[in-house]
Symmetry: C2
Subunit: 127 residues, 2 copies
């Protein structure tokens, strides 16, 4: 993985916000969409950009696409370093904090990410 490509991924505000959330764990598009409040197309395209460059992985689960950071053991050192740095830099920042707070409050029950126990109460749709 080339260093400059990592920075190319990090040089857009929307992508930074996405990565900030993915640092908390895997998420499907609809939840990222819900937290950021940006259009579905915009979210999807930026996730595609990140995926094409190896910053995130994607796997389908039924209707949902689950995006995540690559498994820790497979992250090249430059990525490890920059993700740590990003986490550090976003820790006290208002926008990123708000996004994380919004994620924490969000109903995740529509997606396969919901904890097994809560599955029964799954919402019918995301939107």
């Amino acid at each position: 993985m080339k260093l400059v490509q990592i920075y190319q991924c990090l040089c857009d505000e929307t992508r930074l916000r996405l990565l900030n959330l993915l640092l908390k764990g895997p998420l499907c598009v609809c939840h990222l969409h819900g937290v950021l409040g940006e259009s579905q197309v915009k979210i999807s395209k930026h996730l595609g950009y990140l995926k094409a460059r190896g910053l995130v992985t994607a796997k389908r689960e039924g209707n949902w696409m689950i995006y995540a950071l690559p498994p820790e053991r497979e992250r090249p050192p430059e990525l490890v370093a920059n993700l740590a740095c990003l986490q550090d830099c976003t820790a006290e920042n208002a926008v990123f904090k708000r996004d994380r707070a919004k994620l924490a409050k969000q109903d995740l029950s529509c997606s396969p990410l919901a904890a097994g126990a809560a599955r029964g109460t799954k919402a019918k749709t995301c939107f």
Copy 2:
């Protein structure tokens, strides 16, 4: 300083190479030009880009412009973190190592950066 602006500065290979060298200390344009082997215009424009966003400072000394990272006490935390990360990520990289080696070998005597003692032997021109 906005985080995304730092990344916008870091997302170009030429600018990464410039910053890699400036991490070693202040330098004038002609030495950066000499090490990178890129055109003077290209170097100057990228330095201008970095300066406009506060990643580097510039001061004139006679004919020379001396570029440097901002004084440590004035660096916002995001910049401190990202410069440390950059130093880490470039430490073992071939291109960046070669640039540093080339800088170490380079004759700096043309510029005001030459040590006082060596001033007498100053080269007439850079090129």
